[in-house]
């Protein structure tokens, strides 16, 4: 979908997907440095499952499997699943997630370009709702050696003297939510100069860097991520000014959880976002607002996946109301 004056070279789907995969690399490298080699195993499992499901569904639908599998879109979905799921989750978690993403959310809706929902986020939401315990097993640091991690993911076997409970850790979003529910205040919970750990902040910056590179290359369009981050910042800042002990600072919201990954790699999905520039602004703003609302009052650790899915649902409606009128067309009662 290009608009005049057609100065830029149109990019192929495969080029775009490869660029996005490359932009995920700094974040993925840092993620695996922080959480261990299990991250790569999860990416590998998720991508393999996604490609297999894609090929099987394309074959069942009588479409040229080779051409569409090689366009890289399933690979990207697999990579995003591998990166968003807990690194030490059991192997079947990402595999079942990838199945839902590709078979249900993508191919049953008509394949790339026709899917209403972002496949990776459908996988996340489905598995989050179905297996809340397994989906919140985040380990704060690499407590296991690399080999033990891979073994744990594949067989659930732990070296002697370690229990699964000892490995489990809470993410900052989780810690803040439970702390607030238990009557603690943010002044205690987020003591120190930075609201999130250095690891978290670096990871957020790595996603941000990848996103900025994509934007500079012209692969992604700026409206959705910028509107999302701006809305999240404004809402968080207003609430934080109102009551700093109950509402976390904008910096916390910008660095914690999946904010940056979601803004630059999920909200920018050209298929599930509105196609007009003004529409993408509304789309991004909606994601930002919903993320803040669900994080503040919701029941799940992170909100980006649910916020994106809810706004995916609104995208056709947004498109309908932000469509530029054809030249000379008059809308009765319209704004133009």
């Amino acid at each position: 979908m290009m608009s005049s004056p057609f100065l830029a070279q149109p990019k192929s789907v495969r080029q775009v997907m490869l660029w996005v995969l490359a932009a995920l690399l700094p974040g993925a490298l840092l993620h695996s440095a922080l959480h261990g080699p299990a991250v790569w195993l999860q990416i590998l499992l998720a991508s393999a499952a996604a490609l297999l499901c894609e090929a099987a569904m394309l074959r069942a639908r009588g479409l040229p499997a080779r051409r569409f599998v090689l366009d890289g879109s399933a690979l990207l979905t697999g990579a995003l699943i591998g990166l968003t799921f807990p690194p030490l989750g059991p192997w079947w978690l990402v595999v079942v997630g990838a199945f839902f993403a590709i078979v249900v959310a993508k191919q049953l809706y008509g394949g790339l370009g026709n899917n209403l929902f972002n496949p990776a986020m459908v996988a996340f939401a489905v598995m989050m709702v179905s297996f809340p315990a397994q989906m919140s097993q985040w380990t704060p640091h690499a407590a296991l050696s690399g080999g033990d991690q891979l073994l744990y993911v594949l067989t659930r076997d732990l070296p002697a003297g370690l229990s699964a409970d000892a490995l489990a850790g809470a993410t900052p979003l989780d810690a803040v939510r439970t702390g607030l529910l238990n009557g603690q205040t943010l002044g205690v919970l987020l003591a120190g100069p930075w609201p999130v750990s250095l690891d978290q902040a670096l990871l957020a910056l790595a996603w941000l860097a990848g996103g900025l590179a994509l934007g500079a290359r012209g692969v992604l369009r700026w409206q959705a991520p910028l509107a999302m981050l701006a809305t999240l910042t404004v809402l968080a800042a207003l609430a934080h000014l109102l009551d700093a002990e109950r509402y976390a600072s904008p910096l916390f919201h910008l660095l914690a959880g999946a904010t940056q990954l979601g803004a630059w790699f999920i909200a920018t999905d050209p298929v599930t976002a509105p196609s007009s520039a003004r529409g993408r602004l509304w789309f991004g703003a909606g994601i930002g607002a919903l993320t803040w609302v669900i994080r503040t009052w919701g029941g799940y650790p992170d909100a980006v996946a649910f916020a994106v899915l809810l706004m995916n649902l609104c995208a056709p409606f947004i498109d309908l109301h932000t469509r530029a009128p054809a030249f000379g067309q008059r809308q009765p009662g319209g704004r133009r």
């Binding site: 249900v104 489905v126 709702v129 179905s130 297996f131 809340p132």
Partner: protein
């Protein structure tokens, strides 16, 4: 006032009720109980049979009084008749199967508002003789029961790894051992999505898609012989 049904008519009514005009998959009527109660085979089949009983009785009753019901007030009259029958079924169930009644609860009195019952009264029973109407009501109910059984089975299987759980509510404690554990109980298997409302929507959508696919198939299978010089 009643003439007996010919074999052809009966076959047509049975085919419509169970497959061609299936209440759950084609008419998409009565979706509220279909989605809410289909969390297991036993729940689904129990509610389906209760609905079939009500649709059969109400269709027969309505067909038998159809000549005396003034057209202008037919809906209130139909609803009163249906409600009386549902109350009957509800009281019987409460007396005979109190545990099952506790599970199905509100959905039994709600059979009154099930669109299928009124739809069959309006569309079929009010203009057909009693035997036809009774058969149609029962078959529509059984068609719905079939959907509820398959959907309940799918959701139970994927959600908990069992089949026929809760049978003891219907057949007494001795049936507790009949529950089939396709995944060993010790594995603590649970796939919450299938048990939650979204699972009901996804499952029903897949069933509808499956029926459409099945019906589109015969048109495809006898592939026309390729013309000469043309690619197959």
């Amino acid at each position: 006032m009643s003439q007996w049904i010919s074999g052809d008519a009966a076959r047509g009514i049975i085919g419509d009720g169970l497959w061609r005009q299936n209440a759950g998959l084609v008419q998409l009527l009565g979706l509220c109980p279909v989605l809410a109660v289909s969390s297991s085979v036993v729940n689904g089949v129990s509610l389906g049979l209760a609905t079939a009983l009500v649709t059969g009785l109400s269709s027969a009753l309505i067909a038998s009084v159809r000549h005396w019901v003034p057209n202008e007030i037919r809906n209130p009259v139909f609803i009163l008749l249906i409600a009386a029958l549902v109350t009957l079924v509800e009281l019987l169930m409460r007396a005979g199967l109190p545990e099952l009644y506790a599970v199905l609860g509100i959905f039994i009195p709600l059979i009154t508002t099930n669109c299928i019952v009124l739809a069959r009264a309006e569309a079929f029973a009010s203009r057909n003789p009693v035997p036809h109407a009774a058969l149609d009501g029962v078959m529509m109910g059984l068609g719905l029961t079939l959907v509820l059984a398959v959907l309940g089975g799918l959701r139970e299987l994927f959600g908990k790894g069992t089949l026929l759980s809760g049978l003891e509510l219907v057949l007494g404690e001795s049936a507790r051992g009949w529950v089939i554990h396709l995944i060993p109980e010790s594995a603590h298997y649970q796939f919450l999505l299938a048990m939650l409302p979204p699972g009901a929507f996804i499952g029903l959508a897949l069933l509808i898609a499956g029926k459409q696919w099945w019906e589109a198939r015969p048109a495809r299978t006898p592939a026309p012989a390729p013309l000469q010089g043309e690619q197959a």
